[in-house]
């Protein structure tokens, strides 16, 4: 059997889920030896040519147009799409801004921050525009496996990934669920 190809992406989130995955320590070696990690914040290798993937993993909510497009591409090229963490599953802490108009959020963040002197809202054609609201991934594309938690523990992340690699659909035991 060919080595399964896996990619992970980091959308609107703190990267805590990736950090939690790194918490697997030596078990990480055994998992990574069974897969081919194509592009990921961990490898910092960006391959937007998009090979056909077996597993795509998304950390973070859909917060800007780049996230939106990448999510569509991932869906198209992945056999199984996984949402990691509360931000990808529910929108997470980023949804705090969903109750505030976008213009106000940008002004507060880039201009009115206490430590900012003559701040400017970044505006360049290469910068992806922010969406009005950050959305959970499953409101943009279909998601096959949800792993909530802020962050999910390393064990839970490993359990879900290993199950997928073994051809099973992981169902997290209720006692491992947590939203905080």
């Amino acid at each position: 059997m060919a080595v399964p190809k896996v990619a992970t992406v980091w959308f609107e989130a703190c990267s805590g889920c990736h950090m939690s995955f790194l918490d697997l320590d030596e078990d990480l070696v055994s998992i990574l030896s069974k897969v081919e990690l194509t592009f990921s914040p961990i490898t910092d290798f960006k391959d937007y040519a998009f090979p056909e993937l077996d597993v795509g993993i998304i950390e973070g909510g859909i917060g800007n147009e780049e996230h939106w497009e990448l999510a569509q591409k991932l869906r198209k090229h992945c056999k199984i799409l996984v949402a990691w963490g509360d931000c990808a599953v529910f929108g997470g802490v980023n949804t705090l801004r969903n109750w505030i108009p976008k213009a106000e959020v940008l002004r507060r963040g880039y201009v009115e921050t206490e430590s900012t002197v003559s701040g400017v809202i970044p505006n360049h054609e290469e910068l992806p525009p922010l969406l009005d609201k950050v959305l959970p991934v499953n409101q943009v594309v279909q998601v096959d496996v949800h792993v909530p938690g802020c962050p999910p523990s390393a064990e839970v992340l490993a359990y879900s990934l290993v199950s997928i690699l073994q051809g099973r659909t992981p169902i997290l035991p209720n006692e491992t669920l947590h939203f905080d």
Binding site: T95, L96, F179
Partner: protein
């Protein structure tokens, strides 16, 4: 009653059960350890059937039934869990999560939330519906609670608690459909509303919609599983409400009432703003080291031994120079019976002090004289008699200020039993509820009582009070209209007044609640009139008066019964000269007392906080633990019971308790009291209070 004894047979999850007829399916399941998830249901509240979390399948019917409201029936077959039941519950749960902001990672209730627990229990790992992102207001106006409608699931527990437990009906559903929310009064903020801040809604709220203003921050409170619970009583006002305090890292995180009932208490486990919130407020920086005021007026930290030796030395030298009469002991009536007794003995016997009293002792003077009107000691009415009263007269009393739970009991009596309630004096405590209202200034209250008494005597052909001689013949001739006018009431008040008299005359179990405004009057005649008014309706069994005194402090009854009556300043401003030792919290000192403490040769203070108001006149300040940091017995408001309050926290670093401090002073003064241990002291205090008779005063 019969229905309760009759049993029927039902089948639940293929188990044959024998259950009492008339109970709900949920109750039947709970009695047989079968778990059905619930959300809007709360065992202390009426059933609602609103959330559909407890749905079950009955007799294979395609429509699921809410088990919390459906009664059992002979031969009923119930299935509590199967695929479609779980699917239905999870769908409801998803709708609840999607409707408002239920993102756990920025909610103060996370880890202690029933909605969250259900999501875990039902394996809700994502939502299949989209979020609404509707915005609702957040009410941060109250000093005690934050109400975030974005976290609300409209289960209605708070609405029911407000009506059924607190008896206020402040909370209710406002608006319709997706804009539906729980509002206060007619769309007021919590602060502007008639909310009494009891926190019953907070305690029953399953989510983070109503949260405590104190200690709810995630960083402070820790996870609910790390909390240590201590069962105790609240010593704040004399009602000794049972509490459960949750402690984390020597900090009280929350204090909850026993909503599921506790013995014969009629309060249904409600707590009040004092016991639930005020005690969590910090009063500034704690005093942990003794302080001594130097000659130039600055305060300096001192060693315990040195400071205590200084206090003892001052007391001794004043006694040597001017005699014991120049020494005074003053205690706050918020202290435990043990502290009060130990302090009394130290000052009275050890120092032969001229006077040992309590801050609110003045109130007792009026009361003690009246106590023996019938020639034998009368027992004050118990607050537990309120639910049986058929007429309540609040006379110069503001239970909201002194004993907040009493105001609940009175309000519930109006709402649930429709009894007439008359209010004279301060109108603040229950404006929309009382049948008769007489907004009379404190000093005019005697006129109103006089008019009331004489009209009752005239109206009732029933026996007028057997007053000892004097005004009996004149009573018929009292000019009621004149008295009411003089009391400052409008002309129309006469009609309402006469209706009140009639209601009182017709009542069989009236109760008169007398407050500080009357007991604090210079002349005791108003209180005595109130006593006679109560006596005119006869005594309740066991020589119990139909009158009770709403006392100002948590252990006033104990302080009074231990003989700490007047504050010793009866001769006016200049009588406090020589030396005075104050034991108690600085917040208990009102300005009239602290203003009179300026002319002393020596003023010692033993207190948990530095007494800012006495910074210019005190000489030595010794730290003491807070009531939460020591155990002790407290006497109930009516004096009928004694409750033991547990130590909930360890004292602030290095602070010696009153037993150690007062014993050290006694040793240095050369006084040996008879109590060998704290337990021995406690026994003696309880004995002294229980054997108290008015004649001793």
């Amino acid at each position: 009653m019969e229905a309760e004894h009759k049993t029927i047979k039902i089948t639940m999850d293929e188990k044959e059960l024998v259950v009492p007829d008339g109970i709900t399916i949920l109750e039947a399941a709970q009695r047989n350890d079968i778990h059905i998830p619930t959300l809007c249901h709360h065992p202390a509240l009426s059933n609602w059937g609103g959330c559909r979390m407890c749905v079950v399948e009955v007799d294979g019917s395609p429509k699921l039934a809410a088990s919390c409201v459906m009664p059992v029936r002979e031969g009923m077959e119930v299935v509590t869990t199967n695929g479609r039941i779980v699917e239905s519950r999870r769908t409801v749960l998803e709708f609840l999560f999607a409707e408002r902001n239920h993102n756990c990672m920025f909610c103060p209730q996370s880890g202690d939330c029933e909605l969250q627990k259900l999501a875990y229990e039902l394996g809700m790992d994502h939502l299949t519906v989209s979020f609404s992102f509707n915005s609702f207001p957040t009410d941060v106006t109250s000093d005690y609670m934050i109400t975030d409608h974005n976290r609300c699931i409209l289960c209605g527990r708070c609405v029911r608690a407000c009506a059924e437990i607190a008896g206020t009906q402040v909370l209710n559903f406002h608006n319709r459909g997706p804009r539906n929310l729980v509002g206060f009064d007619l769309n007021a903020s919590r602060e502007e509303s008639t909310c009494f801040g009891c926190g019953a809604c907070l305690q029953v709220c399953p989510t983070g919609a109503i949260t405590n203003r104190y200690r709810t921050h995630y960083a402070v409170k820790g996870h609910s599983k790390d909390l240590k619970a201590t069962e105790s009583l609240c010593p704040e006002c004399g009602l000794l409400c049972p509490t459960t305090s949750q402690v984390h890292d020597n900090t009280v995180i929350k204090i909850e009432g026993k909503l599921l009932g506790d013995g014969d208490r009629p309060d249904r486990g409600q707590l009040c703003y004092k016991g639930r919130f005020e005690v969590l407020k910090g009063d500034g920086k704690r005093l942990v080291r003794p302080m001594v005021r130097e000659k130039n007026g600055t305060w300096k930290e001192e060693k315990w031994e040195t400071a205590l030796a200084l206090v003892a030395e001052k007391l001794k030298s004043i006694r040597r120079a001017k005699g014991g009469e120049a020494l005074f002991g003053l205690a706050s009536s918020a202290l435990s019976n043990e502290e009060l007794l130990l302090f009394r003995d130290l000052m009275a016997k050890g120092c032969s002090a001229g006077h040992v009293g309590s801050l609110d002792g003045e109130h007792f003077k009026a009361v003690s004289k009246a106590w023996e009107l019938k020639g034998e000691p009368l027992k004050e009415a118990s607050w537990k008699m309120i639910p049986e009263a058929d007429f309540i007269f609040l006379l110069g009393a503001n239970p909201y200020k002194t004993q907040p739970i009493l105001s609940t009991l009175v309000r519930r009596s109006i709402l649930e039993r429709g009894i007439p309630v008359a209010l004279a004096g301060d109108m603040e405590c229950m404006p929309p509820f009382a049948t008769f209202q007489f907004p009379v200034k404190d000093e005019k209250l005697p006129l109103l009582i006089k008019a009331f008494r004489s009209e009752v005597a005239a109206a009732g052909k029933k026996v007028p009070p057997k007053s000892k001689g004097s005004s009996k013949s004149k009573e018929g001739a009292v000019d009621v209209s004149g008295l009411l006018k003089e009391a400052g009431l409008a002309k129309g008040a006469k009609k309402s007044f006469m209706e009140m008299v009639a209601a009182f005359v017709h009542s069989t179990h009236p109760l008169i609640l007398v407050g500080e405004a009357v007991t604090g009057l210079k002349s005791p005649s108003a209180f005595q009139d109130a006593m006679k008014l109560a006596l005119s309706k006869g005594l309740d069994s066991g020589n119990v008066l139909r009158l009770m005194v709403l006392k100002p402090y948590g252990n006033s009854a104990g302080a009074w019964k231990l003989g700490l009556s007047s504050n010793g300043n009866s001769k006016g401003k200049d009588s406090w000269k020589g030396g005075l030792l104050y034991l108690g919290h600085p917040k208990d000192l009102d300005s009239s007392v602290s203003a009179d403490l300026g002319n002393l040769d020596f003023l010692g203070v033993i207190s948990p906080y530095f007494p800012e108001t006495l910074a210019d006149c005190a000489h030595v300040v010794i730290p003491k633990p807070l009531s939460m940091e020591s155990s002790g017995s407290y006497t109930s408001l009516d004096g009928w019971e004694i409750g033991f309050v547990e130590k909930i926290l360890d004292p602030a670093e290095g602070v010696k308790d009153s037993w150690e401090t007062l014993n050290s002073l006694a040793d240095q003064i050369g006084f040996r009291h008879k109590f060998k241990t704290w337990e021995d002291l406690s026994k003696n205090a309880v004995k002294a209070i229980k054997s108290w008779r008015p004649a001793e005063q």
